[in-house]
Amino acid sequence: MANDTILSVNDLRISFRTVNGIVQAVRGVSFDLHRGETVAIVGESGSGKSVTMKALMGILPPNAFIEEGSILYNGMDLARADEKTMHQIRGKRIGLIFQDPLSALNPIMRVGRQITEVLRKRGLNKAEARARALELIKAVGIPNPERSFSAYPFQFSGGMRQRIVIAIALAGDPEILICDEPTTALDVTVQAKILDLINQIREERGLSVIFITHDLGVVANMADRVNVMYAGKIVEAGTSEEIFLRPVHPYTWALLESMPDLQTRGRLQAIPGAPPNMLAPPQGDAFAPRSRYALKIDYEKEPPTFKLSPTHTAATWLLHPMAPKMEMPASLKERIARMRKEAEKYV
């Protein structure tokens, strides 16, 4: 497996200087990315997903600093790379598709030109670049490639703009593709096409994908492995099946419970309270104040990471041999039973 590791993030810590003090956005994140796999990162808004990705791309804002840790890629540590190196990597080796398509597009440049620019940088001549750009526009499902080629971003709906951004990212022919909520603004049929497209390219070129999304359906569809983040840490990591069918961290439980599926009736299970203030992150388990399952020690001491299988880890005191036995919420248990039942249709 280790030979296949293309990117390795180790104990990454990132903070921001702000007028109110130091915001500890990422507090010791470690994970590996293997060639050709898709790793999803899920977690609450503000938990540090985007900041981690910005560090990989070397596009952290000026008030951010990497306190500790490394990002190993191709024998380089991107956490310490200079701008010249990052310039070679960004968009070419590591591509990024953002949440907000508008900020990624140049409003006053024709769409076709924004794609051919990337292709020209890769050495294609003008005619080749144009032909390839038209192919990409078609591949991401934009109708009327010729007409769209010479249109401006504002002439497209939100969903169409996101497809343009994806076409630009693919034009760079990257080895790693980071998708930060790429389909949040899209409807499901378009989303399905874009997910298929990403999967297809992943298979064809051995692309590795890091996929950030709030949509757990998309995670179930795309991810080989899932990292669950809360308050700047990965609190649980595992294969898709481990996370969806055998979750052990109370935050993962709460997350899975709060999303309606097609069978959901009655009130949704929202997570009570607010995420912690990262200017002064709480001691111990940061999720404890919002958790029905918090133990006394959760307020005092940070839980270690327990290993449940070669692929499944979780940081919660509930896994300590001396912890009282606690089970996941009944409604989640029912839901998982339903999931297994649904799956029987296919065996």
């Binding site: 808004s45 378009v190 709030h214 757990l216 069918l245 709460a254 309606p260 929202a270 999931m339």
Partner: protein
């Protein structure tokens, strides 16, 4: 269920791009008709760019209708804009926008943002406004202390609550919510949906809910309308739509919903929709037809008979 609050009849809106020979007309909303009953939630779903936002904005007169008629509680709201109509609209209909960041003026305090509607409504007394603003903030789960702060000091979910407070402060009878939870993470999404549900129950609010997450739409809506390229192609009760989708596009849409279950997602078979292949409108023209039980379908005569048989 019987009293229609919002009645939309043959509504159209076109955008014109470019000039002269490069001029193109985009029929963003094309001859759309539907009713929303008092106190119900009507969901509007469909492909990106199919005209959902434009429909909402044309109803509330952020865009001018190019054809058709809209009535609200029996009163026409699509006619020439007068001061009186403007006032009627702002008292009765409010909009919640998708992007809570973009839609809140960064230089205004929460008190000013939320209180603006009251000011327009003629509540000139500042302390009276303050009382009402604070009451509304409580209602959406914020506190008085938040009133003096600025939008950037809030999280996404809190900003969306501010947007809801701003819309609700004039006690509108209907809200047009354009993807109000799309930008939020799941747990905050659950909070906002619970909040909208509470407001709906407490205040008898009617909601036009525009969204693309079909699990959420199904959970939240009483009836659902499906749009495709500016046309409304199917309307049904939300359970009916999921159990008996009749339009091939609706079927494609439903087959594409990813569900949070890795065991089944691996076997997901998506249905493709191709209007050229799926319809023959060369002889028979399609129109909206009633299948009974509140279910209507945009179809030709032949398709209509087939659908009736299938539903039997």
């Amino acid at each position: 269920m019987s009293d229609v609050l919002l009645h939309v009849e043959h509504l159209s809106h076109s955008f014109v791009n470019g000039h002269g020979s490069r001029k193109q007309v985009i029929k963003a909303v094309d001859d759309v008709s539907f009713d929303v009953h008092a106190a119900e939630t009507f969901g509007l779903v469909g492909e990106s760019g199919c005209g959902k936002t434009t429909t909402g904005r044309t109803i509330i007169r952020l865009y001018e209708p190019s054809a058709g008629k809209v009535t609200f509680d029996g009163r026409e709201i699509s006619g020439p804009m007068t001061r009186d109509l403007r006032k009627y609209l702002s008292n009765n209909l409010a909009m919640i926008f998708q992007d809570p960041i973009e839609s809140l003026n960064p230089r205004m305090t929460i008190e000013e943002i939320v209180g603006e509607g009251l000011k327009l409504r003629g509540v000139t007394n500042k302390s009276e406004r303050h009382v009402q603003v604070v009451e509304m903030l409580h209602r959406v789960g914020l506190t008085e202390e938040h009133a003096s702060r600025y939008p950037h000091e809030f999280s996404g979910g809190q900003r969306q609550r501010i947007g809801i407070a701003r819309a609700m402060i004039v006690h509108p009878r209907m809200i047009i919510a354009d993807e109000p939870v799309s930008a939020l993470d799941v747990s905050i999404q659950a909070q906002v949906i619970n909040l909208l549900n509470d407001l709906k129950q407490e205040m008898g609010l009617t909601i036009l809910f525009i969204a693309h997450n079909l699990s959420v739409v199904k959970y939240f809506s009483d009836r659902i309308g499906v749009m495709y390229y500016g046309k409304l192609v199917e309307v049904a009760n939300s359970d009916d739509l999921y159990l008996h989708p009749m339009h091939p596009y609706t079927r494609a849409l439903l087959s594409a919903i990813p569900e949070p279950n890795p065991l089944t997602e691996r076997h997901r078979v998506r249905i493709d929709y191709d209007p050229e292949r799926d319809h023959d409108y060369s002889k028979e023209k399609p129109e909206m037809r009633d299948l009974g039980n509140g279910h209507s379908l945009y179809c030709s005569e032949t398709e209509y008979e087939k659908a009736l048989k299938e539903l039997d």
